[in-house]
């Protein structure tokens, strides 16, 4: 055991982190100790103090602060006994703990300042700790290098016979004989003989058990202890004999357990030698990376989130102020107007800078996919190649985290269901191996991700049959090709003819769509029979802000995402048609668009019921279809900071999030993709209560 040979730059960085952490740990320790003194026995408090001391000790060991380690060791030992109930927390012990905390803290300070404490520093307290430990002073004795394993100067080759017979349970701990044998091979030349005698008849064979044994001959200059170390993790799970047959043929065989335990102990008591400069030397050039100045700093994510939030609030405040200014009709004051414009520009720039802090390349998610493709390809027996592009495209960190699941699912699906098996492909005149393309690119304030395969495309006949079978669409339904493709996003729809162990059961593309929508994005599918399928994800670059339109409905205010809004208008009487079944459409430029009253969907009373008295906001949905949302009036356009409702509550259908308006009130952000579904249901319920039977849906 030696002081880690990290490069000096890294070591300095780790040391900084260590002392930062020490400050936190010591503060916590102080607080807990105070509580312990005030309220006496509290096992959780003791645990926390123990952990603080233990953490400091572990770090101190890494940097070679021997005196600190020695002291921490005693302190920790006493705490350990206290929490195990082996020692009593009486007045004397409590006094000692408080004194120990002071010494401990002082030692940390000295280490921080790079000073070596005097030999007798805190000796009285250390002695008191030892006394309380019932004279267990040996615990505290700083182990010296002399207790190291006596390394036999073995320069010449010796020949060992090694018998290694693992118990049946070996695999339970994820140990792998093959790796051990490979490691032995690195020590010298190895001849291996495998013993199959314990292999049971097939019907008694348990794949989780280990049956094989090995007898090996190793020619190596290593000591028996070195060889025993190879087996250090399995010594209690095997029969192990290590015999030096060439140089000491008459010696009794060395069975594993005794020497191994010795090795373990020797290693265990081998404390770090006091920061020997020779050990921090640049012997390890591969870990000594950059030597220049620090080009990045570590910042607690919490601080970044706070910064993002604060800037978000600033954006809100600025927007409100500008709104009020415009409404106050003082635009004739050119100085003020210019000031407001400047402020708006600065605010936006500041916000972009802050957002950029959280931006990360999608690479961290993309990089998981090649392995997935390989694994699934292997399981399904398909030869599939993954081509990726745009890995460096940046998106908000929180978005990246949420991308992993949908992407994994889509890629898995593409391999499992999209790409045909080799025979089918060859028959269709395609190369035997399939290709999946995964790409990312920016598009405005969105990131565009494509998952594309060159497989068979969606089987529309089967999709439709299944949807009818499951009652998702009526048997008489006439659907366009696109509408049929859309069916794969229906809840509870699984496209695989048979449930495979790769794609599993229960989770379908509906979950992908939900996940993507939760990110404020949308997912579309495009499929060409025989040529392949392409999924497109459009996801906002950040979850933190949204350009919204504030609308009033009755007493409530809602926010509609600006990106989906085409236009707003007050329809004339002649533009509105009532369709059979009670629905309404509005005619605009020759197109009939379905109307949805926000007040009805959300159950808001005292709202404008007549579209010709209120306003229609024309919205384009992810699938390209249009919708007219009826509201009372538009309040104004505003960039809003998105707050999650789900931190403290459950998802609310039709609401994707919330924001806080300039007056401190909460306003809800409307999930427009959900509106039609909700509206259909509210209409159905309304009709069901009005009419005894609703015939055609």
């Amino acid at each position: 055991m030696s002081t880690p040979s990290f490069g000096s730059d890294e070591l300095a960085q780790f040391r900084r982190t260590f002392f930062e952490e020490c400050t936190e740990l010591l503060a916590d320790l102080e607080e807990r100790l105070g509580a312990l003194v005030a309220y006496s026995s509290d096992i959780e408090g003791l645990n926390a103090i123990f952990r603080a001391v233990h953490s400091v000790k572990a770090g101190a060991g890494a940097f070679g602060y021997t005196v600190l380690v020695g002291f921490a060791h005693r302190f920790e030992a006493l705490l350990d006994r206290l929490r195990d109930g082996k020692a009593e927390l009486d007045e004397r012990t409590l006094t000692a703990l408080v004194a120990a905390a002071d010494v401990f803290s002082a030692l940390v300070d000295l280490a921080r300042q790079g000073e070596t404490p005097a030999d007798d520093f805190g000796a009285d307290v250390a002695e008191e700790l030892s006394a309380l430990l019932d004279g267990e002073t040996r615990l505290a004795a700083a182990p010296s290098a002399a207790t190291c394993v006596p390394t036999q100067a073995a320069s010449e080759d010796r020949t060992y016979r090694i018998v290694f017979r693992p118990n049946a349970e070996l695999f339970r701990h994820a140990n792998e004989p093959l790796y051990l044998i490979r490691e032995l091979k690195t020590l010298g030349s190895l001849a291996i003989d495998c013993d199959l005698a314990r292999l049971p008849p097939f019907e008694a064979f348990s794949p989780e058990d280990s049956y094989l044994g090995w007898t090996m001959t190793l020619r190596s200059s290593s000591s028996p202890a070195d060889i025993a170390e190879v087996f250090e993790f399995v010594d209690d799970e095997c029969e192990l004999v290590i015999e030096d047959i060439a140089t000491a043929p008459t010696e009794p065989e060395v069975t594993a357990p005794p020497p191994l335990q010795e090795v373990a102990k020797a290693e265990a008591t081998d404390a770090p030698s006091e920061g020997k400069p020779s050990e921090i030397k640049t012997s390890d050039t591969k870990t000594t990376g950059k030597t220049g100045s620090i080009s990045s700093i570590r910042v607690d994510l919490y601080r970044v989130d706070r910064l993002v939030n604060m800037v978000g609030e600033l954006v809100i405040a600025q927007a409100m102020l500008a709104q009020q200014f415009i409404e106050s009709r003082k635009q004739d004051d050119p100085g003020a107007l210019q000031g407001f414009e400047h402020l708006a520009g600065l605010t936006r720039e500041l916000q972009e800078c802050v957002m950029a802090i959280r931006m990360q390349p999608v690479k961290s998610v993309f990089s998981r996919m090649p392995r997935l493709v390989r694994d699934v390809g292997h399981k399904t027996g398909k030869d599939v190649r993954l081509e990726m592009s745009g890995e460096q495209t940046e998106v908000d960190k929180t978005v990246i985290e949420e991308l992993a699941d949908p992407l994994t699912h889509m890629i898995r699906n593409a391999v499992d269901h999209g790409i045909e098996d080799a025979a089918t492909r060859l028959a269709a005149g395609k190369p035997a191996g399939g290709v999946i393309r995964l790409s990312a690119q920016h598009a405005g304030s969105n990131i565009l991700i494509h998952v594309e395969d060159d497989g068979a495309g969606l089987d529309r006949d089967r999709l439709l049959a299944k949807a009818i079978d499951k009652g998702i669409v009526p048997a008489s339904a006439k659907l366009s090709a696109e509408e049929i493709d859309e069916l794969i996003f229906s809840p509870g729809f699984s496209t695989a003819a048979a449930v495979t162990d790769v794609s599993g059961r229960g989770v379908g593309m509906d979950v992908v769509r939900r996940n993507v929508q939760a990110l404020g994005g949308r997912v579309q599918v495009m499929s060409t029979p025989g040529k392949g399928t392409r999924f497109t994800l459009v996801i906002p670059l950040t979850l933190a802000v949204l350009d919204g339109m504030v609308v009033a409905v009755g007493w409530e205010k809602y926010i509609l995402p600006l990106t989906s809004i085409v236009e707003s208008f007050r329809p004339g009487r002649g533009q509105i048609r009532v369709v059979p079944g009670g629905g309404e459409v509005v005619s605009i430029r020759g197109e009939f668009v379905r109307l949805i009253h926000l007040a009805r969907v959300f159950g808001v009373s005292e709202a404008v019921a007549d579209p010709c008295q209120g306003l229609v906001v024309l919205i384009e949905l992810a699938n390209g279809s249009k919708l007219g949302v009826v509201v009372d009036e538009l309040i104004g356009q505003q960039q809003v900071v998105i707050k999650s409702l789900q931190d403290n509550y459950d998802p609310v259908p039709g609401i994707s999030g919330a924001t806080i308006l300039g007056n401190g009130r909460v306003a809800l952000i409307v999930d427009i993709e959900e509106l039609t579904r909700l509206y259909d249901r509210s209409v159905r319920i309304a009709e069901a209560t009005r009419l005894p039977v609703a015939a055609n849906a």
Binding site: M1, S2, T3, P4, S5, F6, E10, Q13, F14, T17, E20, E21, N47, A48, F50, R51, H54, S55, K57, A58, G59, G61, A62, H73, E76, A77, L139, P143, F171, R172, H173, A174, N175, E176, Y179, L180, R182, E183, V230, E232, F233, D236, A264, K265, E267, A268, T269, D270, A271, P272, D284, K286, T287, G289, S367, R368, P370, R374, A404, D405
Partner: protein, 122 residues
């Protein structure tokens, strides 16, 4: 494809040192600061090796090892416990819970890598 390792430690210093060493050797490293968070990570991500500290708030390393071994996607994933020089009995309890092996703190980077390679070679 780099192998993926989850390091679990409540000490940022230790996490940093472990991660730095492993990343330098080409591993992909995920971090968690206690057993509960580690289980959260494991529920979503498949890793090739878990390296865990013993003394942690919320859920300690031994309990984590037991939970992982109890079943699920990582029941047969190698797990190394990080233990201090005084931790002989900890090694034993970690081993009993189902750990694959251990690394003694403080560790030299070379030692860490050699132990990692021993239970989860490329």
């Amino acid at each position: 494809m780099p192998r993926k390792i989850l390091t679990v430690d409540d000490s940022r210093t230790m996490r940093d040192m472990v991660s730095y060493t492993l990343r330098g050797a080409g591993f992909e490293v995920l971090e968690a600061e206690d057993g509960v968070k580690a289980l959260g990570v494991l529920a979503n991500t498949r890793v090739d090796l878990i390296i865990t500290d013993i003394n942690m708030p919320n859920m300690d390393g031994v309990t984590l090892v037991k939970r992982v071994r109890a079943g699920g996607s990582h029941a047969s994933t190698p797990i190394l416990i990080l233990t201090t020089e005084s931790g002989d009995d900890r090694k034993a309890s970690g081993k009993a819970a189902g750990a694959t092996g251990w690394i003694v703190k403080p560790f030299a980077p070379e030692k860490l890598l050699s132990v990692v390679n021993k239970v989860c070679p490329a």
